[in-house]
């Protein structure tokens, strides 16, 4: 008897969740919304990867500028990193999104071309990459400082050109120190793509919001999207652990047998 009462109570509690079969809602083909969610996830991953790559480029340049640049370059970069890290990403995204599109269009008009519509994907990548660049600058700067400086001096003493030295010595040597920070940045990049939902770009969160709004099955879709994001994070963690082990190859480990 108590079993039956328990089951009835359970069903009463869950009934709002079970109005339509969850599997039907999440089906991949059109009556279900699963395909839309997966497309959103793909867009999110594209943007995160693009923004991360752009951020790494900006970060490498920024770290070099902060370490080896002249006083003016250093101060400007300090301003960039401080500013970007003190202002919410959401505000920055709106500022760059509006200002960037406006500036490009004004430039095009001044040069006699017609206005263009900035593609959402490109805009997202540029905006998030600009934000990521500030954080990457700080991570890479710390990592370069952690490399035994004699190695860099030795490379310079051999007369190695700067770019070759960056590729052969600085980047590989700093990687083990940079990986934990860079891994964090990648996870932040994947989660920051959700902010683009605010400007209406159809990445995972936006697709989820539309699906949930259309079907009123809020719990189902938000939980499904959460599971997708979580899966992305966990898969990333596995890959990051591999990359970290690879970047540390040949380095003696401190914490006992590896």
């Amino acid at each position: 008897m108590p079993n039956l009462v328990g089951r009835i109570a359970m069903e009463a509690l869950l009934s709002p969740l079970l109005q339509v079969s969850t599997m039907d809602l999440l089906a991949l083909s059109p009556p279900g919304w699963g395909g839309n969610l997966l497309r959103g996830l793909m867009n999110s991953v594209y943007i995160a990867a693009g923004a991360y790559a752009l951020g790494l480029l900006i970060g490498t340049g920024g770290a070099y500028g902060k370490l080896y640049g002249g006083p003016v370059v250093r101060d400007l970069l300090e301003g960039y990193t401080t500013l970007v890290r003190a202002v919410p990403e959401l505000v920055l995204i709106l500022l760059i999104y509006f200002a960037g599109a406006d500036l490009i269009n004004r430039l095009l008009e001044a040069l006699g071309y017609t206005r263009i519509d900035i593609n959402g994907l490109t805009a997202g990548i540029v905006v998030l990459g600009f934000v990521q660049g500030a954080y990457a600058t700080e991570v890479l700067r710390g990592a370069i400082l952690a490399v035994p400086q004699g190695q860099l001096e030795a490379a310079r003493a051999y007369g190695m050109p700067p770019l070759l030295m960056l590729r052969r010595i600085t980047l590989p040597a700093m990687l083990p120190y940079a990986i934990p920070g860079l891994a964090n940045l990648w996870l932040i990049a994947t989660k920051d793509t959700a902010l683009l939902a605010i400007v209406g770009f159809s990445e995972l969160t936006q697709e989820t919001r539309q699906a949930a709004g259309a079907t009123k099955a809020y719990f189902t879709f938000y939980l499904a999207a959460g599971a997708l994001y979580l899966a992305l994070t966990l898969v990333s963690n596995v890959i990051i652990a591999r990359v970290e082990r690879w970047s540390r190859r040949g380095m003696p480990s401190i914490g006992g047998p590896a």
Binding site: P16, L17, P71, V72, D75, L76, L83, R85, A86, V87, P88, E89, L90, V91, L92, L94, L95, F98, A99, D102, L187, K191, D192, T193, A194, L195, A197, I198, T205, T208, R209, A212, K216, Y218, F219, Y222, L223, A225, G226, Y229, L230, T233, L234
Partner: protein, 269 residues
């Protein structure tokens, strides 16, 4: 004997702010600010003055409340992961992983739309005294931000609890100190001291997370700026002012935590 100009140069060389290139940069920045103040449109400002103050107050209020509640939640979360039995540490770890592995915006939507659509279906919730609050948006915003802060800070507290030298706790036990007293007097204070520098950064991150509550109709300072944009079609000015306001709040947070850190005695070996 030193003459006046050479002393001035010496002073300039010692003060990091008075180097020539900094003076030029500061002058350029000042010109930019003056240009922004004179050539951009600020005539909307008086109309939204009251609303902006209200929004600012709401942002700060949400920040303080969620940080305080989240930190209180973070202490048991960190402690459970360090010393708890598996049936406490496993859920604590899972909670931290799930919250840190999904975007905050999604969590806010899940709580607001998910719980918000679930609650009205139960009459006993609709008739309860909490219902007037559950119909508003801010309790969900506060809940989501609190859980998020607790998860991130719980991870920090785990490291801080684990980092307290074991000899300290053994000494407390050797003195015959009861377990809770040892926790209150020895373990917790030292863990908080270790976590304090990270706590500053986490608080700034929490401030940067607060504008997300505007997505569920809580009118914080960010929402006020959005409304100005929608009402007047002025795009840049409210956003620039908003950025300045957030930078000012960040500055205040860093200043306050520096004061707090300075009050805790440290011995540098």
């Amino acid at each position: 004997m030193t003459t006046e100009p050479s002393r001035a140069i010496e002073f300039a060389a010692r003060s990091p702010w008075l180097q020539p290139h900094r003076l030029v940069l500061m002058a350029i920045a000042a010109i930019l600010v003056v240009c922004a103040a004179t050539f951009m449109r600020w005539d909307w400002l008086p109309n939204y003055y009251g609303l902006a103050l209200q929004g600012l107050w709401r942002t700060i209020w949400i920040l303080v409340v969620t940080c305080a509640l989240g930190f209180m939640l973070a202490i048991p979360l960190g402690l459970a992961q360090v010393t708890g039995p598996w049936w406490l540490s496993a859920p604590a770890r899972a909670f931290c992983t799930v919250i840190r592995g999904t975007p905050l915006l999604l969590q806010i939507f899940l709580l607001y739309y998910g719980l918000g659509s679930l609650f009205p279906q139960y009459p006993w919730i609709r008739e309860s005294e909490l219902w007037p609050y559950l119909r508003q948006a801010w309790p969900y915003a506060v809940l989501a931000l609190t859980l998020s802060f607790a998860a991130y800070e719980g991870e920090v507290m785990r490291g801080a609890f684990a980092g307290v030298p074991k000899g300290q706790l053994e000494a407390a036990r050797a003195f015959g100190m009861p377990r809770f007293t040892a926790f209150r007097r020895i373990w917790l204070p030292q863990a908080i001291q270790r976590a304090l520098p990270t706590l500053t950064g986490e608080t700034v991150l929490q401030l940067k997370a607060t504008p997300l509550v505007a997505a569920i109709t809580v009118v914080d300072i960010y929402a006020v700026a959005s409304r100005v944009r929608q009402d007047t079609f002025i795009i840049y000015e409210p956003l620039l002012l908003l950025a300045v306001i957030y930078m000012a709040i960040t500055g205040v947070i860093i200043f306050l935590f520096k004061r707090l850190e300075a009050r805790i005695p440290t011995r540098l070996g």
